[in-house]
Point group: C2
Chain length 142, copies 2
């Protein structure tokens, strides 16, 4: 697990006009050091230190608002988050598909695979497409 310098993490926070606090640094570090999507439990397990649930929720919400992370669509009533690539304050542009591994549960952003164009009857006004592919990921196949 790569470790990021304090400066890198602080840099991201400052760039977004967020005060640099202990919990924000630790939680952000979890995102930076994980490949796939992050669920609540991941943070509780990996942030190294116990934060109040409320702090975790509020921090995640703040990060979403600032465009640092985005909510990953799932279909099983769970919420996951991942780092944004090109999102800014309040404007998310996450036009990629998501992969969920049936085996290990990992959720991955496939940034290179953009959403397909779906043709609907013209009386629908389609604004946003979300594609979720479920299967077995690389690690679990080997």
């Amino acid at each position: 697990m790569p470790v990021f310098t304090t400066t890198q993490v602080e840099e991201i926070l400052r760039r977004n006009n967020l005060s640099v606090t202990d919990s924000r640094k630790k939680i952000l570090n979890v995102f930076l050091s994980m490949q796939g999507a992050v669920a609540h439990r991941d943070i509780e397990r990996k942030a190294g230190e116990k934060f109040d649930r409320v702090t975790v929720y509020r921090t995640l919400q703040t990060f979403v608002e600032k465009g640092i992370i985005h909510i990953i669509p799932t279909t099983d009533n769970s919420i996951r988050y991942a780092m944004c690539k090109d999102c800014t304050d309040g404007h998310h542009h996450d036009n990629h598909i998501h992969f969920i591994c049936r085996n290990c549960g990992a959720t991955l952003c496939l940034d290179d695979i953009t959403n397909p164009v779906i043709h609907l009857p013209s009386y629908f006004s389609a604004e946003e497409v979300e594609v979720i592919v479920k299967g077995i990921c690389r690690n679990c196949r080997e």
Copy 2:
């Protein structure tokens, strides 16, 4: 709202080896008379009579197991259900996309629009695709 004969509803229940009870009939009737997907609240509002929450949950679960209804994928942490077209006992084949209206919240199965084929790198084993389109539905545009 079309009304279905008692016989039709009972027929479906019997075909699935379910005893014909009052709540099952009423809940099934909600599905048959609604266009789009059904959420819990819809049932509580439209079943005409108040059932215990527990009964609603257990009935829905039973219907899913029997292949009478299927769970519709959403990305907002809500659960919705819709009638199955060709599903049988425990085997669901719902290879169509779903539309969610941002305005009225209606969720529709677009049975005629099958899921696109998504090409992933070969080290993924893709087994299932779910597509959710969000926008404005016909009724809300007029």
